[in-house]
């Protein structure tokens, strides 16, 4: 499989994730879309790393995995506390910090 296909898949994943982040209303789906974007980034890193024969990309991909786990934990905690406060997890109403 040629290297550029990996990049194309990665790009597709990234934009799908971005669409989800920007458009979904439910906070859980937004978090999942963020995971998708992180996965896309990792895939691009791995593809380039393999293509260029450089191990650093692999290392960074591992970091991204750890970071994604941490991010999911914090994000879910926020979602839980938003739910406790508002009894729903729609992002539309979560704008107390505006203005």
């Amino acid at each position: 499989m040629p290297g550029y296909l990996y990049i194309l898949v990665s790009l597709a994943l990234f934009f799908i994730g971005m669409t989800g982040v920007l458009l979904r209303r439910n906070a859980l789906f937004v978090l999942m879309s963020v995971e998708l974007q992180l996965g896309a980034g990792s895939l691009a890193l791995l593809a380039f790393a393999r293509g260029l024969g450089d191990q650093k990309g692999h290392v960074v991909a591992f970091f991204v995995m750890a970071l994604a786990a941490a991010e999911a934990a914090v994000g879910l905690a926020i979602v839980v506390s938003v739910y406790r406060a508002r009894k729903k997890i729609d992002l539309d109403g979560v704008n107390q910090l505006r203005n």
Partner: protein, 740 residues
């Protein structure tokens, strides 16, 4: 760099700084110890520098110390340089010695005041600034001292600032001085323009050399004339001469030690010092000297007249100070610089003594200063009375007392001066005559003051009378020292005519000392000297006699009769010839009206409404617009972020597009040049395919290439531009026509 002379002003300034910062934390005894020690130490250093270095100070142009170069810009170099020559040394001795005495006196006088530390801090500040003024060897340093004493004068006049009148008296002094300072600055700039330096020795050297300062400047008058006139305007402000004398009588709102030190003995003489310091410049311009002399003489007479009818103890002394300063200016204005400084020297003692006596009397009278309510204090305040008598006889010019010698030196100088050209020869005798009349007036109003306060029955009410007591030792001791000064200071300047009686020849000690600094003393014919001495003694005695005739033992019949006959004249004099009212009408009110108009037009309308309004509107609209973006919606933020990021990527990574393709064809030779934005050009790789066969003919990083075609035809050049960083590629084509 260490400098002994720098310590003289520095110690009081450090004392002031410490007392301002930490004075409130200390007890009164600590505060007064710090303040007095600071001034006393600089007194000791001055004495040491002056007398130990006497030959150098007096004969070799003084000790000069460059502390450091303050700033240098182009050809201007301003040094913090200090010089102690006989003139500044004498001033130093007067300031520090009288300053120490008056600090000491203040212990008793200010004993009951809440702001003890603040008072002593300001007094120390004054001493430091005054010493900087007299020691400064460049005009800017002198000017710092000049402004410093103005500041401390303002602070001390308004020391009891809770009374509105005191605060406004301080402001009046400050603003009046500001008019004078403007003159000082102009004079300084003129001298700088003419000589290219602000160092006093350089300016004086240029003045002795003559040419630079004699050049005509304006209205046919020389640079020296205008510099002299403008410097004198500054001096008139600081030393309370016509027309800027009005602040000094009001300055009596300050505590009495302040009046004695600042507004009698030292600061107000700074103007006289300035003229004497610049003597060489003035000697180049006899007309400027004549102005100085005439203004001084008129002030001496005018202020003495006002003194006739004042009923406040300190105000009489204030007008007396204005008048005596006029004497000094008349002295320096007749090129009798040594005489002017001599009168400054003796006046410092007897006027400080008189003021401290006033303080002592007011202390006894429960703070009252109204001499119509005094009388008969001679027996109750024995020490104060003795001291007052000595100082009174001294200022009247009774022989043996110091004022006699110094006043005589001024009068003799006025009649004997040869500083003016033929056209102005009348100035000297005229000044002399005015001074004689003023001296008669001085003797009269000072005798009036003496008799009304110390002789006859007491006119105060029972309760005040009950309180009358002699002042504490801390107040009496300085009085006695000053009285000794008033008695003996005159012997430093005994005129040559009198010295001959005692078998001595030549000029007096003081005149010899001052010679290197202010030039040789005026040679006055002995006959003139004797005549002037006779007349001035007679006038002093006549004045005292008149004083006794009107006021001996309280108000006598002639005084009442005179007041009944000419009530309007008496009222006019009592109202100080209504000069304050005239100034109020022609200067203060129009200025206030102007201020009100500018306030309304500029501040209220222009600034508040138009300028502030416009920007408030812009900020308001901008804020509303930004608030729309700041909706608090995370997803909208992210969308904006994504768009921005995409825009950035496009700007950085978009395929290169040349703005212009230039083709130059000469014969069969074609040159193609691409014009691109320079920021990217370093990373671009160009391939030129000239003949359209799909194979690059030229490649490289330069954006231009040449080719020689085989024959005339129409060719298409394909240029491939590659960006190595982003792997973008763009192909542009251009037709080239090679004509036969």
């Amino acid at each position: 760099m260490f400098s002994r002379l720098l310590l003289i002003p520095l110690l009081p300034l450090l004392g002031a700084a410490y007392l301002m910062l930490a004075g409130q934390r200390h007890t009164r005894s600590v505060v007064q110890t710090i303040a007095i020690l600071a001034v006393f130490a600089s007194c000791v250093i001055s004495l040491d520098a002056f007398f130990v270095g006497l030959p150098a100070v007096v004969h070799e142009g003084g000790i000069s110390e460059l502390v450091y170069t303050w700033f240098a810009a182009g050809s201007v170099e301003v040094d913090l340089a200090l010089r102690m020559d006989s003139l500044s040394g004498l001033m130093c001795l007067v300031v520090t010695s009288i300053g120490t005495l008056i600090h000491f006196y203040s212990i008793g006088y200010m004993a009951h005041d809440e702001d003890y530390a603040r008072f002593f801090a300001y007094m120390n500040l004054f001493c430091g600034a005054m010493l900087l003024l007299v020691l400064g060897d460049t005009l800017p340093v002198l000017f710092i001292g000049w402004e410093g004493v103005g500041l401390s004068s303002y602070l001390l006049i308004g020391f009891w600032y809770k009374e509105h009148a005191n605060a406004s008296a301080g402001r009046k002094a400050f603003i009046t001085n500001r008019i004078g300072d403007f003159g000082f600055l102009i004079g300084m700039f003129l001298l700088f323009r003419a000589t290219g330096s602000l160092d006093i020795p350089v300016i004086l050297g240029a003045a002795q050399d003559g040419s630079a300062l004699s050049a005509p400047l304006w209205l046919g008058q020389s640079v020296a004339f205008w510099a002299g006139v403008f410097l004198f305007l500054g001096a008139a402000g600081k030393s309370a001469q016509i027309p800027l004398y009005v602040w000094l009588p009001d300055a009596m709102a300050g505590p009495t030690p302040v009046s004695a030190l600042i507004h009698a003995a030292t600061m107000v003489t700074a103007g006289v010092y300035l003229v004497a310091r610049m003597s060489a410049v003035y000697l180049l311009a006899p007309a400027a000297l004549a102005i100085v002399a005439l203004v001084g003489a008129l002030t001496a007479l005018f202020a003495a007249l006002i003194g006739f009818a004042q009923n406040d103890f300190k105000r009489v002394l204030a007008y007396s100070t204005v008048s005596q300063l006029g004497f000094m200016f008349a002295g320096v204005g007749t090129a009798n610089f040594a005489g002017g400084i001599f009168h400054l020297f003796t006046h410092a003692f007897f006027k400080a003594g008189l003021f401290l006596c006033a303080g002592s009397v007011m202390h006894a009278m429960s703070g009252l200063g109204d001499i119509t309510k005094m009388g008969g204090l001679g027996k109750r305040l024995p020490w104060t009375t003795r001291v007052f008598q000595i100082c009174w006889l001294s200022i009247c010019g009774v022989p043996i007392f110091s004022g006699f010698f110094s006043k005589d030196a001024l009068l003799g100088g006025a009649f004997g001066t040869e500083a003016y050209g033929h056209g102005l020869a009348w100035v000297g005798p005229l000044v002399g005559v005015i001074l004689l009349v003023a001296a008669l007036g001085t003797a009269f109003y000072m005798s009036r003051l003496y008799f009304l306060v110390f002789s006859g029955p007491c006119r105060a009410d029972e309760q005040t009378q009950h309180h009358i007591h002699e002042s504490p030792v801390s107040m009496v001791f300085p009085l006695v020292v000053l009285a000794a000064g008033a008695l003996f200071a005159g012997f430093a300047g005994v005129p040559p005519a009198l010295r001959e009686l005692f078998g001595k020849h030549g000029e007096s000690t003081l005149a010899v000392w001052l010679e290197p600094a202010v030039g040789a003393p005026l040679a006055v014919a002995h006959r003139t000297e004797w005549i002037v001495m006779g007349i001035s003694t007679a006038l002093a005695l006549v004045g005292i006699g008149f004083g006794y005739f009107f006021y001996g033992g309280g108000y006598r019949a002639p005084a009442h009769a005179f007041a009944r006959k000419l009530p309007r004249l008496v009222a006019l004099v009592r109202d100080k010839f209504r000069v304050d009212e005239i100034y109020d009408a022609i200067l203060v009110r129009p200025l206030q009206a102007l201020c009100r108009i500018t306030f309304l037009v500029v501040d209220r309308v222009l600034v508040d409404k138009i300028l502030v309004g416009i920007w408030a509107f812009v900020a308001d609209v901008g804020g509303r617009a930004c608030r729309f973006i700041q909706a608090g919606d995370v997803q909208r933020y992210l969308a904006v972020f994504a768009i921005g990021l995409a825009a950035l990527v496009w700007v950085a990574a978009r395929p290169a597009a040349p703005k212009e393709i230039q083709v130059v064809v000469t014969g069969r030779h074609a040159k193609v040049t691409l014009v691109d934005d320079e920021a990217r050009s370093g990373n671009l790789q160009y391939r030129f395919d000239f003949d359209g066969d799909g194979v690059p003919d030229r490649e490289g990083k330069t954006a231009s290439a040449s080719w020689i075609y085989g024959g005339p035809a129409r060719y298409t050049v394909a240029i491939t531009i590659e960006d190595a960083r982003w792997h973008t590629r763009r192909v542009v084509e251009r037709d080239v026509e090679v004509r036969p």
